[in-house]
């Protein structure tokens, strides 16, 4: 940060002539504009905070009251033409607003405060309502009780958190712990192994693409792909139709119901996540391996280190910071994963993890419980990310 300030010229230098005069002339401009931005934020928060009243109609679009084709097209488009039109309208509207703002602040006498409002204002509005206030409200809701209609109904202390840690949900916690430890471990192990194996070979690019590909497709699609691996056992006497069971049958084992059986289901889903994340781990680690200075490797080679020895005592220590960053990044991704369990888990409590438990609570309008799950995810993620940032700083210092 300090670096930027040193580099950037002083504000006085950056402005047009007569700086002293100008600040006086327009000193009301910046507070006024930031005041408006503040009002928008307060308005948004007020909207989201005041309780939903029966019979009160929405501000912009009300299904019952706005039968006009323009509002219907803008808010409930149904045909291809309407949808494309509303998309174009949205982008054009955005461009017009931003263009107007930039045009207004692009003149010589505008004080820095107003210029800043143009550059930062929209972001400040979006983030303070969309993330900051929303986050705080969710934390508060996690201490509240909700009726069946989803309306807050008094505070209940830690009741929602008690629910997160007891009953069926203990399995959710255990599964989540398995996810955040096993997925990063295996993804990094396979990713590193593969990165070393294909490094500087003739088919490196193609070989990497094959492993990296699952990162690009959606987890929903991955769920479908793996569905045909984990198909239930065939009736006795018939051929297996799921790949996993066919392999088990081939080596003489008993075919399993992979998804519905108690601990198996979680491991089966973890394998899918490992399949997705290995490509990411491999790509980042491969880049780190290539960045290891050639002279270090050369020196070690002259000292007689080869193969695994060279890898474990020279290469691995030099990419250690990257390994840690990849481990933590994948761990966070695993904790937040919702799609795989939602699509493949068969909605079974024994396969459940925190992110999906959150969604299940949200669907049945248990906003308090959903809030508690979200806060637990947040609490687990935060120290990991702080650790991650520290590691990155260390890695940068070492460079």
């Amino acid at each position: 940060m300090t670096e930027v300030q040193d580099r950037a010229p002083s504000p006085v230098q950056g402005r047009a002539p007569r700086p002293a005069n100008k600040t006086k002339e327009t000193s009301w401009g910046a507070p006024l504009i930031w005041g408006i931005i503040g009002l928008v934020i307060v308005g948004g928060i007020w909207l989201g905070w005041s309780p939903l009243k029966q019979g009160s109609s929405p501000i912009l679009y009300d299904n019952a009251k706005n039968p006009g084709w323009i509002s219907r097209m803008l808010f409930q488009p149904t045909t291809l033409g309407q949808k494309l039109l509303v998309m174009v309208v949205a982008i054009a509207l955005f461009l017009a607003i931003m263009g107007l703002i930039l045009w207004l602040i692009d003149r010589p006498k505008i004080p820095t405060g107003v210029v800043l409002a143009g550059f930062l204002g929209p972001v400040v509005i979006f983030l303070s309502i969309g993330l900051l206030w929303s986050g705080i409200k969710t934390v508060i809701q996690s201490f509240q009780k909700f009726d069946d209609a989803g309306a807050a109904n008094g505070f209940v202390g830690l009741d929602n958190y008690a629910k997160v840690f007891t009953g069926q949900n203990t399995q959710v916690l255990i599964n989540s712990v398995l996810w955040i430890f096993l997925v990063p471990l295996f993804a990094v192990a396979f990713g590193l192994l593969y990165a070393v194996l294909v490094d500087r070979t003739r088919f490196e690019a193609v070989a990497k693409s094959l492993i990296f590909l699952p990162t690009a497709i959606s987890m929903v699609a991955s769920g479908i792909i793996w569905r045909y691996v984990y198909l239930a056992p065939a009736p006795s006497g018939k051929d297996q139709i799921g790949l996993a069971n066919a392999l088990v049958h081939l080596v003489g084992g008993t075919p399993q119901n992979w998804i519905t059986k108690a601990p198996l289901g979680t491991f089966a889903l973890i394998i899918v996540m490992v399949w997705i994340q290995t490509g990411f781990a491999m790509t980042v680690l491969s880049a780190a391996l290539k960045a290891v200075p050639d002279d270090i490797i050369e020196a070690a080679r002259i000292d007689g280190a080869t193969g695994p020895r060279l890898f474990f005592s020279v290469m691995l220590p030099s990419i250690r910071p990257t390994v840690v960053v990849v481990l933590t990044t994948v761990a966070i991704a695993s904790l937040k994963t919702f799609d795989i369990v939602n699509v493949m888990g068969g909605n079974l409590p024994k396969n459940n993890i925190l992110a999906n438990a959150f969604y299940n609570a949200l669907v049945v309008r248990q906003n308090g419980l959903a809030g508690a799950f979200a806060v637990v995810i947040f609490i687990i993620v935060t120290p990991v990310i702080i650790f991650n940032v520290r590691q990155m700083k260390k890695a940068e210092e070492n460079r």
């Binding site: 580099r7 972001v123 194996l197 003739r202 690009a216 699509v343």
Partner: protein, 309 residues
């Protein structure tokens, strides 16, 4: 990680340096890890990672009873034959909502949900990098910290706001949500790229009398094109592949392809149907095309997004 290549003083020189290194790497390759064990292991992993997708591709082209009666490794044996008819059935929805409806929705959702946050983030990143002001550090740290907030934490309160405004079930709520959730990372990354631009360039523009807007539009934007492309692809795939935001905010007319596929899985239970495989393959086509054609940018965006953020 230096994704922003400065104004390119001598392209031929850079290129030849890269070529030299490539040649050296190639010669290294002959001495390194040519053991058959290593190659065998690499091939084994590659096969393990490819077979599931390959299986789905085969299943999507098998005629009707096949996916329920035999594994994909039987290909088109016996009672099954090769067909592309499943794709037609999936595309037109077989009585349900046609797949192309979902794909249209995905397109309509994704384009603004990539364009808007990146534009806003570019402006904010510029302010953080090149406009000195009081409280900048605190504000920047606040934005950085917001990357930590899991989107789960923000979904429910946002839903209340959308209900009050009347935006539920419309594209607007989805666009706004993706914009909000994409901003912190976008600002952080683009800020890092902006800082790598040599200050002398901005200084020169300023001496010529350009204000912040002109410097942003005329000096920085052209230099940031690679960085923008990287993040745009990252955000594009994120939005296209998203399920949680879609499930929470979309209505029956605005559901994207991921939600469409998810609906199919609940509709068809655990059995194999002939609609699910082609539908999943069709859903993958766009991200795969992006991935294969723009892989360089994709990798760069992912590296910057994870290692730096």
């Amino acid at each position: 990680m230096t994704a922003v290549v400065a104004p390119v003083p001598a392209p031929e020189l850079q290129l030849s340096a890269r070529k030299l290194k490539a040649q050296q790497r190639a010669s290294d390759a002959k001495t390194k890890l040519s053991s058959p064990w290593a190659s065998g292991l690499a091939i084994l992993i590659a096969i393990l990672w490819t077979v599931p997708t390959f299986g789905l591709l085969i299943n999507s082209t098998r005629s009707d009873p096949a996916p329920q009666q035999s594994g994909f490794w039987n290909f088109w044996n016996g009672s099954t034959s090769f067909t592309l008819g499943n794709y037609g059935t999936a595309w037109s929805g077989n009585g349900g909502t046609p797949l192309y409806d979902f794909i249209i929705n995905s397109v309509v959702i994704t384009l603004p949900a990539v364009f808007i946050p990146i534009t806003l983030a570019l402006l904010a990143a510029y302010a953080f990098a090149w406009i000195p002001f009081r409280g900048k550090n605190i504000l920047f740290i606040a934005v950085f910290v917001m990357q930590v907030v899991p989107i789960q934490v923000a979904l429910l309160p946002l839903l209340t706001v959308y209900v009050k405004v009347g935006l539920t079930n419309s594209f607007w709520s989805i666009w706004l949500s993706h914009t909000i959730f994409g901003l912190p990372l976008a600002i952080f990354l683009l800020h890092n790229f902006m800082k790598e631009i040599p200050p002398s360039l901005i200084e020169a523009a300023r001496v010529d009398g350009a204000g912040h807007v002109k410097i942003f539009l005329k000096v920085l934007l052209p230099l940031l094109v690679p960085a923008i492309a990287s993040f745009a692809i990252f955000q594009f795939l994120w939005v296209w592949n998203d399920l949680l935001v879609a499930l929470t905010f979309s209505g029956e007319n605005t559901a994207p392809i991921t939600q469409g596929i998810q609906g199919l899985t609940t509709q068809f239970g655990s059995g194999g149907s002939t609609i699910l495989p082609p539908a999943a393959i069709l859903a993958m086509l766009v991200p795969l095309a992006v991935f294969l054609s723009l892989q360089r940018f994709f990798v760069r965006g992912l590296l910057a997004g994870s290692v730096k953020g």
